[in-house]
C-alpha cells in the first residue's frame, strides 16, 4: 500500500524497486475531454490507484481500449496503450498477452463497445480465460455519439433512437460472464473510486479473465441512471452476512439482482484455474517477445513484409 507520501514500501520488502511510484507516475500532459463530472474520471482515478497499490510501473502494464468516451482513457495515462477498432480490444489484448505474458493487460471500454459491438469477443474471452482484466464503463447509453440506447439500457429507456422507450430487454453482463465461464466477476460504482480501486486491484491480481462492470453515470445524456439513482440502490456484497463469492449458485442469484437493490463488489471468483496462455503450445518455449528474432525464416519474413508494403 502507498504511504502518506503516495509512495510504496515494496523496495523495503526487497521485491522490486517501486521507490517514487505514485499516481503521478501514470499522469501525462493530455487534458481529458470528458464532460465535467463524468463517471469516467472516477474510473481513471481508480485504475491509477489500483496500479500503485499493486506496485505496477507504467512499463509493466498495457491498457487496451476500443471506441467510445471511456475508451479515450488510454490517451489520459502514461502507460503502454492501444486504442483499437470498435468492439475489438479484447481480441487485441489477448494478442498482447500472448506476445508478452509478463505484461499486466487491462482492457477498458464502454458497454456499447464491450457488450454490443464487442459482445462476441466478450463471450469468448470469458470462456477462454486469458489473464486479462476487463473494466467496462457501463453508463447504459452510447454517449460519444450523443445519447442512443445501448445494450444495457433498461426497457422503456427513452433516447433519440428510442423516443417511445427501448423495446429490448437489457443484457445482464454479470450473468452472461458467469454463463460463459468467467472466473472473476465484479461490479463497482464510479462514484466510489476507493472501493472501485480495490475491485480493480483484485481483478488484476486474479489469474485469468476478470470482468469488472462499472456503474458509471453519464452526466450529460443519461438523466435516469444518475449518481443519486445508483447511490440509493447499491449495496456491498461483502457486507451481506455469509455471502461467499466462491459459491457459483449464490453468485448466479446475486447477479440477477437489479432495480431497487444493486449489489456491488466481487460477485464471483474461482481460483486455481489455469489461464489460456498455459494451453498455447507456441508459448512453451517462453514469451514470444523473448524468442530470438533470428529463428524466423528470412524468406517467410520477406513475404510477410511484402504484405505491408
Amino acid at each position: 500500500m502507498p504511504g502518506a507520501d503516495g509512495t510504496t514500501s515494496a523496495s523495503r520488502n526487497g521485491r522490486k524497486d517501486t521507490q517514487g511510484l505514485t499516481v503521478r507516475s501514470f499522469a501525462n500532459h493530455v487534458k481529458p475531454t470528458w464532460c465535467p463530472g463524468c463517471g469516467d474520471f472516477g474510473v481513471l482515478t481508480a485504475l491509477k490507484q489500483a496500479l500503485v497499490q499493486l506496485e505496477i510501473w507504467p512499463h509493466e502494464a498495457a491498457v487496451i481500449s476500443g471506441i467510445g468516451c471511456g475508451s479515450k482513457i488510454v490517451d489520459y495515462m502514461r502507460i503502454n496503450g492501444f486504442m483499437t477498432l470498435h468492439g475489438r480490444p479484447l481480441a487485441v489484448a489477448t494478442g498482447v498477452k500472448l506476445a508478452n505474458p509478463s505484461l499486466h493487460v487491462i482492457v477498458v471500454n464502454g458497454d456499447g463497445d464491450g457488450y454490443g459491438i464487442g459482445g462476441n469477443h466478450f463471450m469468448h474471452t470469458a470462456r477462454r480465460n486469458p489473464d486479462i482484466t476487463h473494466i467496462v464503463e457501463n453508463n447504459q447509453i452510447y454517449a460519444l455519439t450523443k445519447g442512443q440506447y445501448s445494450p444495457t439500457s433498461d426497457r422503456g429507456f427513452k433516447t433519440s433512437t428510442s423516443p417511445d422507450g427501448a423495446a429490448e430487454l437489457p443484457v445482464n453482463p454479470l450473468l452472461l460472464a458467469l454463463a460463459c465461464g468467467a472466473t472473476f466477476v465484479a461490479r463497482g460504482f464510479a462514484g466510489e473510486p476507493k472501493h472501485l480501486a480495490s475491485l480493480i486491484a483484485a481483478g488484476i491480481r486474479h489469474k485469468g479473465y476478470a470482468l469488472i462492470d462499472v456503474l458509471q453515470p453519464c452526466v450529460t445524456f443519461n438523466k435516469v441512471n444518475t449518481y443519486e439513482w445508483y447511490a440509493e440502490r447499491i449495496y456491498r456484497v461483502d457486507e451481506e452476512t455469509g455471502y461467499d463469492p466462491a459459491d457459483f449458485d449464490a453468485a448466479w442469484r446475486m447477479a440477477q439482482q437489479w432495480g431497487d437493490r444493486i449489489p456491488v463488489g466481487i460477485i464471483y471468483q474461482r481460483e486455481g484455474i489455469p489461464s489460456y496462455e498455459e494451453f498455447v503450445p507456441a508459448l512453451k518455449e517462453g514469451p514470444v517477445v523473448h524468442q530470438p528474432f533470428a529463428k524466423v525464416d528470412e524468406a517467410v519474413f520477406e513475404r510477410l513484409k511484402l504484405e505491408y508494403t
Partner: protein, 140 residues
C-alpha cells in the same frame, strides 16, 4: 429567508424544487469526502432539513474523490443539451457551459453554507474539499 431561498437567490433562475435538488446533490458529494465525525459536526451547524441531506451511512471519506467526481451528481441534475447550432458544426452551445454553470451553482450552495459556519468550521470544511473544489469554496 431560509437556506434553500438563499441558494435560489444566488444561483438565480432556479425554482424552489431545482434549488432543493441542487442542495441535495452538493450535500451528497460533501458526505463522500467527510469522515462521519466531521459530518456530524457540520450537521449540527445546519438547519435540520439541510442536515438531513447528509448521508449517514458513510463512515470514512473516500480519498480518491477528485473535483470531477465531486461535481458529478450536480452535473447530473443540470440541463446539458438542447441548443445544437449547425452553424458551429453541430456544437451544443448549452453543453459547452456545463462546467461553468456547475461551478456557479456549487458556489451558490457553498455561500449559503458558509453563512451557517464560524471561521473555524469554514476552514475545517475547506480542508476536506478535493482539488479545485477547495478554491471554488474559498471564492464563494
Amino acid at each position: 429567508m431560509n437556506f434553500i431561498q438563499r441558494v435560489q437567490e444566488r444561483a438565480t433562475a432556479l425554482s424552489e424544487e431545482e434549488a432543493e435538488a441542487l442542495v441535495r446533490h452538493v450535500m451528497y458529494s460533501l458526505s463522500q469526502v467527510m469522515d462521519q465525525k466531521d459530518r456530524e459536526r457540520l450537521a449540527k451547524k445546519l438547519p435540520k432539513p439541510i442536515a438531513a441531506f447528509l448521508r449517514s451511512d458513510v463512515e470514512f471519506a473516500d480519498p480518491f474523490i477528485d473535483e470531477q467526481v465531486f461535481v458529478g451528481p450536480l452535473v447530473n441534475g443540470l440541463a446539458t443539451e438542447g441548443l445544437y447550432d449547425q452553424t458551429l458544426g453541430g456544437l451544443d452551445v448549452l453543453s459547452v457551459h456545463t462546467g461553468d454553470e456547475a461551478t456557479r451553482r456549487l458556489q451558490a450552495v457553498f455561500a449559503a453554507l458558509k453563512e451557517c459556519l464560524d471561521e473555524t468550521e469554514r476552514r475545517r470544511l475547506q480542508d476536506v474539499l478535493p482539488g479545485d473544489v477547495s478554491q471554488w469554496y474559498q471564492d464563494a
